[in-house]
């Protein structure tokens, strides 16, 4: 039986009990999405967009959607983990175990009126009409997104009404508790005109076993809305993490995505935004670290479909041992999208001879009067800087960490929120030998 066939079987078994199964539109969307996945299977490396990232492991290894009740059992013993994450950050915290909302672990904060952060499963039961326009279609993304569409039944539903501003970040925590769990999470972020908010996805590990996260996050920015999304991925080094972040932007809106990828054996991020109105702005910022034989891929697509749009795109990778990094950035400027201003940069720091980074800009510019700049670098630790630090008594390991940190600092500085910057720094430095001491020392001099 192929992987696709076993997913079809799992679907027949599980579909009737998924949240919202009784909704004809959803049942139909799920059925068609599954059909698509069965027809396409996991993307193969013959597909140009996947040629550097093989999902063969998903053909050979079995992952399955945990049984109902597994989440509740899994939630036991996670209090300490969640408390550790929340430390120093009151805000709104919503925890999902094996893809299901775990109210006992969550800590909702008082949100301004007009701001709601709910479990998608709950909204599918109580007010499905609020979900339908934002849920997405079977055709979206690559085939993993279709598999998500077939199985997705929970995740966060964030709704910010017109003009509502939520200052503190909204934190969503995703934990894979069951071994070999496949978690098809769907998050929907809906920002009405002029609304503002920041949503943080934490993908954390509780064990070192394999797991599959197949996450879809859809963002709808109405006129002049401002949405910041940050994903901090620190999954098990045996996990496979697939993420599709899909934004739509109306006139004058701003969308920022920060993808910080520090865990998982294989992480693929497809980040897409489309300017459906004039004067939109986007910032796609990314930082990853790979070592061992780990692999991180960022594929981005920015559709400048309307005039006066500004996009900024910066991805940085730190690659150690036999780690591999992939970046492909497509920028499409439609014929009438004049006065588009786009900048794309990707920089990679190789810490070993075996590490490898691939970068591919793909610019499709059909309009005149546009500014479009791109650049890619692959480099190593600056030996002169290393000597300078060592000549001041700083030992070699620390000096290397410091220079690695310095390379990352630019990416972290783009995260406007200081508490999130600090979190991201801690997560990165925890990966470097002796990095924790460096983190403490940097903290002290802030």
């Amino acid at each position: 039986m192929t992987a696709a066939q076993s997913w079809a079987e799992a679907f027949r078994e599980r579909a009737p009990s998924l949240a919202g199964a009784g909704l004809p539109w959803l049942a139909e969307t799920r059925r068609r999405a599954l059909e698509r996945f069965v027809a396409e299977g996991w993307p193969s490396t013959r597909n140009d967009a996947w040629r550097h990232t093989s999902l063969l492991v998903l053909e050979h290894e079995q992952f399955s959607v945990p049984e109902a009740g597994a989440a509740e059992r899994g939630a036991a013993g996670l209090e300490a983990l969640v408390r550790g994450l929340r430390e120093g950050d009151d805000g709104h915290w919503m925890v999902f175990v094996d893809g299901r909302y775990a109210p006992a672990l969550s800590a909702p904060a008082r949100l301004p009126s007009g701001a709601e952060v709910l479990s998608l499963a709950e909204v599918l039961e109580t007010a499905p009409e609020r979900v339908e326009p934002h849920f997405g279609a079977p055709e979206d993304g690559y085939s993993p997104t279709a598999l998500n569409t077939a199985f997705a039944a929970d995740g966060a539903f964030v709704h910010l009404k017109r003009g509502v501003v939520v200052e503190a970040p909204i934190h969503l925590v995703f934990v894979a508790a069951t071994e070999r769990a496949a978690n098809h999470v769907r998050n929907l972020i809906v920002a009405e005109a002029g609304a503002q908010g920041t949503v943080v996805e934490h993908h954390v590990k509780v064990h070192d076993e394999p797991a599959l996260s197949n996450i879809v996050t859809r963002v709808d920015c109405a006129d002049d809305a401002r949405v910041t999304h940050l994903k901090l991925q620190q999954e098990s080094e045996r996990a496979v993490h697939l993420a599709h972040i899909d934004a739509r932007q109306a006139r004058g809106s701003m969308f920022a995505s920060h993808s910080l990828s520090f865990g998982a054996r294989l992480a693929r991020n497809d980040i897409v935004t489309r300017f459906d109105g004039t004067g939109c702005e986007t910032l796609l910022n990314g930082l990853f670290h790979v070592d061992g034989k780990r692999h991180v891929d960022h594929h981005t697509r920015i559709e400048h479909a309307q005039p006066n749009g500004t996009s900024r795109e910066f991805y940085r990778g730190i690659l150690d041992e036999a780690g591999r990094g992939v970046f492909a950035g497509r920028i499409i400027v439609a014929p009438h999208a004049v006065r588009t201003d786009a900048v794309q940069r990707t920089d990679n720091l190789l810490l070993s001879r075996q590490a490898e980074a691939d970068a591919r800009p793909e610019l499709e510019i059909y309009a005149d009067d546009v500014k479009c700049a791109h650049g890619a670098t692959v480099g190593r630790i600056d030996e002169t800087a290393l000597f300078y630090l060592r000549s001041r008594g700083i030992d070699e390991e620390r000096a290397r960490n410091l220079l690695t940190w310095a390379f990352a600092a630019e990416a972290l500085a783009r995260i406007g929120v200081e508490s999130l910057q600090r979190r991201a720094r801690g997560a990165l430095l925890a990966r470097l030998p002796g990095g924790t001491a460096l983190d403490r020392a940097l903290e002290e001099l802030q």
């Binding site: 630090l389 700083i394 030992d395 070699e396 310095a406 940097l442």
Partner: protein
């Protein structure tokens, strides 16, 4: 405290130092002068432990130890400080963090307690004032976007904080206007002491108007070809380097001197 004997060193396969001898005692200030390409900066880099330079022969004894067997960081911790001709910019690393890490690395080695953030900031701010640096330079990235003069002040600041036993100043005067030169020289002079030796590397005698050396050496083609007192620097200023290059053998100091 420092004994260099028949030092031979090369970079990228090119022999630069060809048997250099130099002896420096505590409290002394030695000036090393010489034309471009004579090996002045190579000497500085070899003393600090830059591994792109290959030592091919000779020895360096530092406080009774084999300096060439020590790592760059251990040399620094044991009291050798090189003020760089071209201080390195390190975007993303704050000067405050850099200075504190350096100070504490050296203090640990000397068996002193590490300074905490409060004590460190008090100390560094006092020293910054002395070299005429504004506090904002603490929170900027190391040397990034600093002017030539600001970079050199940052070097003198590091020297003051690390309290070395041997300071090597590599063309510290290059790129400085006369006011900056005076401030930097004052900073250096404040650090002169009977326990501390200095090697001042310079192309021009100008710096030696401010930092008066006990000994002056002329380096040419990788060897010290002439040594003398301060008057040697003045003679070089007047006559240039060519007269020495023309008659190196005649003025070469005796072996082992």
């Amino acid at each position: 405290m420092l004994e260099i004997s028949q030092l031979k060193a090369s970079v990228d396969g090119k022999r630069i130092l060809r048997g250099l001898d130099l002896s420096v005692k505590a409290g002394e200030v030695h000036a090393i002068m010489g034309p471009n390409g004579s090996g002045k900066s190579t000497l500085a880099q070899v003393l600090a432990g830059r591994d792109s330079y290959t030592v091919e022969g000779g020895s360096i004894h530092w406080q009774g130890e084999d300096l060439l067997a020590m790592s760059t960081e251990d040399r620094a911790r044991s009291g050798i400080f090189l003020a760089f001709q071209y201080p390195v910019e390190i975007p993303g690393v704050s000067n405050a963090y850099f200075l504190k890490a350096a100070v504490n690395a050296v203090r640990r080695h000397r068996g002193l307690p590490e300074l905490d953030a409060m004590d460190f900031l008090a100390k560094v701010k006092a020293e910054m004032k002395a070299v005429g640096m504004k506090e904002e330079f603490l929170y900027r990235s190391v040397n990034e976007g600093f002017s030539g003069g600001e970079k050199k002040r940052n070097e003198v600041l590091q020297m003051a904080l690390l309290e070395p036993k041997l300071a090597i100043l590599d063309e510290t005067d290059s790129g400085l206007d006369i006011d900056a030169l005076r401030i930097v020289a004052d900073g250096i002079n404040r650090l002169r002491s009977p326990e501390r030796a200095m090697i001042v590397i310079t192309h021009y005698q100008r710096l030696l108007d401010y930092i008066v050396p006990d000994h002056v050496h002329v380096l040419a083609e990788g060897r010290i070809v002439r040594s003398g007192g301060r008057e040697l620097a003045l003679e070089l200023e007047e006559r240039g380097y060519s007269w020495i290059e023309r008659e190196p053998a005649a003025v070469r100091p005796a072996e082992g001197a």
